[in-house]
């Protein structure tokens, strides 16, 4: 029941806003609807806590301890993003960049992206998961190209073609998975249900599953932004509207990594040696190294932080790649904290670039003079994303290092060097932006302070002392993923 409620809120809103998205009350209604969505995701979490697995639509949709983490995160971050978007939209309207048609498209597609992410997370049928990811790609392409500037159209085109090719590879993986599962589960709709596959995963043909995992990894890895198929990600972040960047970095990348994780659980059991983990480990490292060295000399602030997103996705992939309960726990925590921190960073730099009317770092100056809250928040968020204690990312990176040193000390050293480079580059850039005597013009949106504050306080509180029920939940999830092996 709660599953269907959670899905129907954004779908209904997407339809409504397609017609009335330009009315003055819509930005607030958008925020209110996502808040309702957040509440219903909490209700769903209560169900999952009671029953472990909740099903809907004759088993096609389900919720379990793993996906509920991402569902709550989606509910929370889409709420804060929608609150932020109220101020963002007002500013853009005043500058004349958003007409009635664009407002309708923007609000409708915002809800559509949220809907497709939730559908992807909730689907038990892996085919449905694929369809949801494709829908997310299509609706997000609309958001990226919303300004209709040559660059944004090119970014959306690149996104569309690269992800179209990627997702097609994932579909071939899906065909192979169905091919393997058909002989265990019989043909028909049940052969792609994850919970069914989970029962028979040990009996699936190892050769077919390893091929299938490779195809899935190429396809979904494109969506996660893993090197070498990360080319679309910085463009998409830099050219789209800021709320879209926050959703993309904070949520959509997670959904794709979540999908890889689901396939990996099946592949690990079937293949019996850690091929899937090794692939994730190798490409995770490659991603971190390439992303960190691409941070160098970035002069576009959203592009800078999108490379940092690639880096953090690489770190999470390393965590899942190492395997075992401790590393999986660290990677799950890392994804959660990264989502919260990165979306607040996009809120901060998005508004700063609205004031300065540019995204170029060397032209954004004087944020501390203009608004002390904004300047300090940017410094704090910058430190949080770099893993400075006491913020959450410090805790998750520490746990991950502990697991990595056990597995392979040399790789831990390489990772340490990469993180130090990222630390130097990003901190320097952030301090440059907040310093300066001359304050840029532009009003400080009061309402937009709330989402930033919520995210940063959450990351700090969870980093200092994570409440035991959340900790137990994450540990239980890591055990759920690995315990059955």
């Amino acid at each position: 029941m709660d599953i269907l409620l959670t899905l129907s809120i954004p779908l209904l809103c997407a339809c409504l806003f397609a017609f009335w998205g330009d009315r003055p009350w819509v930005p607030r209604a958008n925020a209110f609807a996502t808040f309702l969505l957040f509440l219903s995701s909490l209700a769903l979490a209560a169900d999952v806590a009671k029953e472990h697995r909740v099903f809907a639509l004759s088993g096609q949709l389900f919720s379990d301890p793993l996906n509920i983490i991402f569902i709550i995160l989606t509910g929370l971050i889409s709420t804060t993003t929608a609150i932020y978007s109220v101020g963002y939209i007002r500013f853009e309207e005043e500058r004349g960049r958003f007409g009635a048609g664009r407002l309708r498209l923007y609000h409708s597609m915002f809800q559509m992206v949220v809907f497709s992410m939730l559908l992807g997370l909730l689907s038990n049928n892996l085919g449905l998961l694929w369809v949801a990811l494709e829908t997310a790609t299509l609706s997000n392409a609309f958001l990226i190209s919303i300004y209709r500037t040559p660059k944004s159209i090119e970014a959306a085109w690149k996104y569309f073609v690269l992800l179209g090719v990627g997702i097609a590879q994932a579909f071939f993986g899906l065909i192979l998975l169905y091919f393997a599962s058909e002989r265990e589960l019989g043909s028909g709709g049940n052969a792609l249900l994850w919970t069914q596959l989970d029962f028979v995963k040990v009996h699936l043909n190892p050769m077919v599953l390893s091929l299938s995992f490779v195809f899935f990894f190429v396809g979904l890895g494109t969506k996660v932004g893993l090197v070498p198929l990360h080319g679309w990600l910085p463009d998409a972040h830099a050219e789209g509207p800021t709320p879209a960047s926050a959703i993309l970095s904070g949520l959509l990348l997670n959904v794709a990594l979540y999908a890889i994780l689901r396939i990996k659980v099946l592949a690990d059991a079937a293949i019996k040696w850690p091929m899937a983990g090794d692939i994730l480990l190798v490409f995770g490292f490659l991603t971190v190294v390439v992303a960190v060295f691409s941070l160098w000399k970035r002069n576009d602030v959203k592009r800078l932080f999108s490379y940092s997103s690639i880096e953090h996705m690489g770190i999470a992939a390393i965590g899942f790649g190492i395997g075992g309960e401790a590393a999986t726990l660290a990677a799950l925590l890392h994804l959660t904290f990264h989502s919260l921190t990165k979306s607040s960073l996009f809120f901060l730099v998005g508004t700063a670039s609205q004031w300065c009317q540019t995204q170029k770092i060397n032209e954004i100056r004087g944020l501390l003079v203009h608004s002390p809250f904004w300047g300090w928040a940017l410094i704090v968020a910058g430190c949080a994303i770099l893993g400075v204690p006491p913020f959450g990312l410090f805790a998750s990176e520490f746990l991950l290092f502990k697991a990595l040193v056990h597995a392979n000390p040399w790789l831990a050293a390489v990772l340490m060097i990469c993180l130090s480079v990222a630390f130097g580059v990003i901190l320097k850039r952030v301090l440059e932006m907040v310093a300066g005597e001359k304050a840029p013009p532009g009003p400080v949106p009061v309402l937009s302070k709330a989402p930033v504050l919520i995210h940063l306080v959450l990351v700090a509180v969870l980093g200092i002392g994570i409440p035991s029920f959340i900790w137990n939940w994450y540990q239980g999830t890591a055990h759920y993923l690995w315990g059955s092996l």
Binding site: G127, L138, G164, F171, A191
Partner: protein, 220 residues
């Protein structure tokens, strides 16, 4: 197998499908490329139909009908109209020259057969020999996207990629479950509408659908 005629027909159609992708790789005119795409849709729906008849899987017949409607009627109509409205004509620029692409294509086919041969031995379908053709179509369409710089031809590459996927699904497992097939069809339709919108936007901003031009606008 008890259906020698049908089986050789399916194999013939598989060979023809592979030929159409090679044609896409070598042809330079946009109109001819769309015609080839129509032919590809026709081959795909015919082969799905025959596999459906032989295996007795009803949903394959239904899927053959959807494929025919979408790939032979709706999409070509949209594409032809789009090309006429945008007054596109002339040749497609290719990144690699045609002979090199062709030779690469042959290696891709050999590779696909190597990957698919263990699968073919395990499969229980009538048309199990054709899994390699499906994979080759997917990878060759990828090559089409890589070697073409015009937006329309990249879209044709994507659509042909999707044809390859459907063909593989039909031959390896008699198609995917219904809910997945419907979702895919919906996404393809929405995607094509999106291309249309994009084409006009690109046209407005660049006077030209050549993507190589666009890439020079990036500096950062």
């Amino acid at each position: 197998m008890s259906h020698p005629l049908e089986q050789s027909l399916i194999e013939l159609l598989g060979g023809l499908l592979l030929l159409t992708v090679f044609a896409m790789l070598s042809i330079r005119r946009i109109f001819s490329m769309i015609r080839i795409f129509v032919l590809q849709g026709l081959i795909l729906s015919a082969s799905t139909f025959i596999v459906g008849l032989v295996s007795g899987e009803k949903h394959l017949l239904f899927q053959a009908f959807i494929t025919f409607f979408l790939k032979v009627v709706v999409l070509p109509f949209l594409l032809f109209r789009l090309v006429q409205r945008l007054r596109l004509r002339g040749d497609v620029e290719v990144v690699l020259n045609v002979p090199v692409t062709m030779v690469t294509g042959i290696f891709v086919v050999i590779f696909s057969y190597a990957v698919a041969s263990p699968l073919s031995q395990m499969a229980m379908t009538v048309s199990r020999g054709l899994i390699g053709v499906g994979l080759a179509t997917v990878l060759l369409s990828f090559l089409v996207i890589l070697t073409r710089r015009k937006a329309v031809t990249q879209v044709l590459g994507l659509l042909s990629l999707e044809n390859g996927l459907l063909f593989s699904a039909t031959n390896a497992t008699y198609g995917m479950p219904m809910i997945v097939e419907l979702g895919v069809a919906l996404d393809v339709l929405v995607g094509t509408l999106l291309f249309g919108v994009f084409f006009f936007q690109i046209r407005e901003s660049f006077e030209n659908l050549d993507l190589e031009r666009l890439e020079r606008t990036w500096e950062d």
